[in-house]
């Protein structure tokens, strides 16, 4: 049986549909991301799962029992979920230990056991020595770890994360992605993760739900989404791509999937001209225009493949790499 089921969930504000006809099933222990541009309805969906917002249509079921429907919702405090907020929402009036212990206190876990669990989780997130610090004395990354510990220590049925890394700097963000996945693998908590950052979603998730304008575009494992995007939107949102029109149909062609060489390839060769280029350290980014065409293509090559502007090159396009999109 699925752990969490969203059945045709919708949230309308007047005539505006923030979320429409959203259906999703999560298996026990699964890690699913909701990915999409800002305003796509992902946070609204998460807040409906948490119980902060009632849906205007559809139902949400946890372990087979309805917890949200348009006629009523079980309030957040009785759902046995945990949530990590964009702002972390670490209470500045409590120490690290008090923050982490709050959920246990509310659940009336005996003091001794609570202390043991707090110590253990702080150990796991590497915050053990900072137990008696106040949040104002912590860095952003440390606050993030406190938020993780506070959410996990109560062993929730569902863990919800709302753009938890968006306030961190780039290096820390990359580190914390792996940290979140590591914690998930250790505790096996069913997790819903909201983000607008595709690489965050790809690193952490078993499956990704790509959302656009309140609707689901595609739900799949990361490699399927990248390799077989179903819609133009998904192809453009997950990684970079070229759109190629053939016979009235649109195909997605990844910049990495195009070969670039000075000599004519054995098959599928197209002659083209380099019209623009950018060096990005890890790779070259070329804009090439096939001769006789008006639209240029983007091609990525290794850092040592250097062509001058205006030079003639050959493109090798494998038809199997072209994915038809809607």
């Amino acid at each position: 049986m699925s752990k969490l089921v969203l059945r045709n969930i919708g949230k309308a504000y007047g005539t505006f549909d923030a979320v429409k006809d959203f259906s999703l099933e999560l298996a026990q222990g699964e890690f699913v991301s909701l990915l999409g541009p800002s305003g796509c309805g992902k946070t609204t969906t998460l807040r409906m799962i948490a119980g902060f917002l009632p849906p205007t249509s559809g139902t949400i079921e946890l372990d087979g029992q309805v917890i949200s429907s348009p006629s009523g919702v079980i309030p957040p405090e009785r759902r046995r979920m945990s949530m990590i907020f964009q702002s972390y929402a670490i209470w500045p009036n409590m120490t690290v230990g008090q923050n982490v212990g709050f959920g246990l206190e509310v659940k009336k876990v005996p003091r001794a056991e609570a202390d043991r669990r707090i110590a253990k989780i702080l150990e796991i997130v590497q915050m053990g020595p900072l137990k008696d610090r106040y949040p104002a004395e912590l860095s952003g990354g440390q606050q993030q770890r406190v938020a993780l510990a506070r959410a996990i220590v109560v062993e929730p049925e569902i863990l919800l994360l709302d753009e938890p890394l968006s306030n961190l700097d780039a290096n820390l963000r990359e580190e914390m992605r792996f940290e979140i996945r590591r914690l998930h693998d250790e505790f096996k908590i069913t997790t819903v993760y909201v983000t607008h950052d595709q690489s965050e979603a790809m690193v952490t998730s078993d499956r990704i739900v790509v959302m656009n304008k309140g609707r689901i575009e595609q739900v799949d494992a990361p490699h399927t989404l990248y390799g077989k995007p179903r819609s133009r939107f998904v192809a453009g949102f997950i990684g970079r791509t070229n759109f190629v029109e053939r016979d009235g149909q649109t195909f997605s062609l990844r910049p990495q999937a195009i070969g670039l060489s000075a000599a004519r390839p054995a098959a599928n060769g197209v002659e083209a001209e380099i019209v623009d280029r950018a060096y990005l350290g890890e790779h070259w980014d070329y804009q090439v225009k096939p001769l006789g065409e008006t639209k240029s293509l983007r091609v990525s090559t290794g850092p040592n493949t250097v062509y001058a502007l205006g030079s003639r090159v050959w493109l090798e396009i494998d038809p199997a790499a072209m994915v038809r999109v809607e």
Binding site: D63, Q65, V73, P75, R78, R80, N93, F102, V106, E157
Partner: protein, 575 residues
């Protein structure tokens, strides 16, 4: 699994009950606000349109109120007074504000402190000090002039229209100062740098960039100053009446004399109310206008502008203003308070503590009036804080629909001048069934309403700064809304609410313009006491009592500065 079974057709019972609780709170707050804000206002209107004898609908009160030329003249006097006082106050405040917030003028902290000292000087205390300074013949400035020039009489006469303008401007310029510094502190140095790099010098940059960016705020401050001036009761009563002219507030007071003609007073108060509402709306439109990035965006980095030699000229001007508003007035208030007779000047054999002994221990009511002021102030500040935070919470968390209406009621008293508010309270609650006249309740209720807007603006700002996720984090971990309020919201808002409380309590302890219409011999407050003493010409006692009030305020200021920052009285939310 502990999650209760539910079907989609039956709403969970517990949830519905939680919803009801916030509705009950909402209804309670509505009732309180109807009582405190709407009812006095409605009674004011009704009273002005009803015959005192028959209770029938009539315009006779308006005819009585505007039936004489001198009554109408008083209206125009008020407008002229407000305009002159606001402009003079602007001339004091704007250069000071610019110098303090944007330049390298020496002593900027000192100037700020002196503006604060001016701000916490009640207008009636300032007016009395200036009577000592510039009263005809006996005033110290006149004596000094005679002594220096050998002339027969000095040129200064505080009992005149210009005298009144000066006294009001000197104690209302901090409003313009607060608005202007708040705006200037948001103009980023980069905007000025952009003008400099295109070749504009310091003065041109100020004239073309800085001041225009701050102009809406300056105008807003001038309007508030104007409104303060026309709503002021004490200074005109002390200065205009001896100078034989009336303004709206003094005329209102006369309608309230023996016999009390509250219906005529209500009718007469309408233009004051209309002008105030109109100008507050204008002020909001000016200062809320979007498009000036400087007033909405981030401050960015700010470097002080180097004034060169002008910095001392600027400092001199600041000291001149402070001399008129603080140094001279307090010097001579101290002299009078410690003198056997103030006219005998500064000599050792004229020094005595008898005035303090008299007002604190021997006078029949002066000592209790101080206690009354602080007790009523504390009660009303506490009540207003509770109402304000309750409404701010409901509004910010959108717990019920139409919550914004509650917020509007909380700030609405801002457009009602103190004297008009008092007439409304008198009309609503002096007669039976409540018959509150003569009780402390009437004073406390009126003060609560009068200062509620300050409380609400501060509570609302505090609530807004509190991320709702702080509470959601409690609830998602199993805590109720009440637990979130107790464990998170209350501890985090403690300081801001203490600040809001002080910002209401401090002015409430010195409030005169509403108290003068509502006090009885049993509920006399210190401001009324001081006013009475000035009527009787007891300036030594008066000075002693006024200084006692100022000294008692100092610990409050200290607490406020410790709790929420040095400038807590001089922020825009403070007014």
């Amino acid at each position: 699994m502990a999650v209760d079974a539910l079907t989609t057709t039956t709403p969970p019972a517990r949830l519905r009950r939680g919803f009801d609780a916030s509705w009950i709170l909402w209804i309670a707050l509505i009732a309180v606000l109807l009582f405190l804000v709407v009812s006095p206002f409605v009674h004011l209107l009704i009273t002005s349109l009803r015959s005192e004898k028959t209770g029938a609908f009539t315009f006779a009160n308006y005819a009585a109120a505007y039936g004489r030329e001198r009554y109408v003249q008083a209206l125009f006097n008020s407008l002229e007074l407000g305009a002159c006082a606001a402009l003079l106050g602007g001339a004091f405040a704007v250069p000071l504000a610019w110098a303090v917030s944007r330049t390298d003028m020496p002593g900027r902290g000192l100037v700020r402190t002196l503006v604060l000292a001016t701000f916490i000087t009640p207008p009636y205390t300032g007016a009395v000090a200036w009577i000592l300074l510039a009263g005809p013949n006996a005033g110290w400035l006149n004596k000094a002039y005679v002594w220096l020039t050998g002339a027969e009489a000095g040129p200064f006469n505080i009992y005149s229209f210009p005298g009144l303008v000066l006294v009001i401007a000197l104690y209302s310029f901090p409003y313009v100062f607060i608005f202007t510094t708040a705006a200037l502190e948001l103009v980023s140095s980069e905007m000025e740098d952009a003008a400099n790099i295109l070749g504009a010098g310091t003065w041109r940059t100020m004239r073309r960039v800085t001041l225009p960016l701050a102009l809406p705020a300056i105008l807003g401050g001038l309007i508030i100053s104007f409104l303060e001036a026309i709503a002021l009761f004490a200074s005109p009563a002390m200065i205009a009446i001896p100078a034989r002219f009336n303004v709206v507030t003094t005329q209102l007071f006369q309608f309230f004399g023996n016999p009390v003609r509250v219906e005529v007073a209500a009718a007469y108060a309408m233009p004051l109310l209309a002008v105030t509402i109109f100008l507050v709306v204008v002020q909001r439109l000016i200062t809320r206008r979007k498009g000036f990035v400087a007033l909405t965006g981030k401050g960015g980095e700010r470097r002080p502008i180097a004034l060169g030699g002008w910095r001392w000229a600027m400092f001199g001007y600041a000291m001149l203003v402070a001399t008129m508003s603080v140094f001279l007035p307090y010097l001579f208030l101290l002299q009078a308070a410690f003198a056997k007779a103030w006219g005998r000047g500064f000599s050792l054999d004229n020094i005595s503590l008898k005035n303090f002994r008299f007002v604190l221990f021997e006078h029949a009511t002066a000592g209790t009036s101080v206690i009354h002021s602080f007790a009523y102030g504390a009660a009303s500040a506490t009540a207003a804080t509770i109402i304000a935070i309750g409404v701010a919470y409901i509004v910010n968390r959108k717990l019920v629909r139409f919550a914004n209406g509650l917020g509007f009621l909380c700030v609405a008293p801002f457009v009602i001048p103190g004297v008009v508010l008092a007439i409304g309270f008198y009309a609503a609650y002096a007669p039976p069934p409540l018959a509150l006249y003569g009780t402390a309740w009437l004073m406390i209720l009126a003060f609560t309403t009068r200062f509620l807007p300050i409380g609400y603006v501060n509570a609302n700002a505090a609530m807004r700064s509190l991320n709702p996720e702080m509470e959601e984090a409690v609830r998602v971990l199993g805590g109720s809304r009440m637990l979130a309020l107790r464990k998170v919201v209350a501890p985090l808002l403690k300081r801001s609410l203490l600040g809001a409380w002080l910002l209401m309590f401090i002015p409430a302890t010195r409030e005169l313009s509403s108290a003068i219409f509502l006090y009885s011999p049993q509920t006399k407050v210190v401001s009324v006491m001081i006013f009475d003493m000035s009527d009787e010409g007891n300036f030594e006692y008066l000075a002693a009592l006024a200084l006692v009030l100022q000294v008692l305020t100092l610990p409050l200021l200290w607490i406020g500065q410790r709790a929420i920052g040095r400038d807590f009285m001089l922020r825009r939310t403070a007014t």
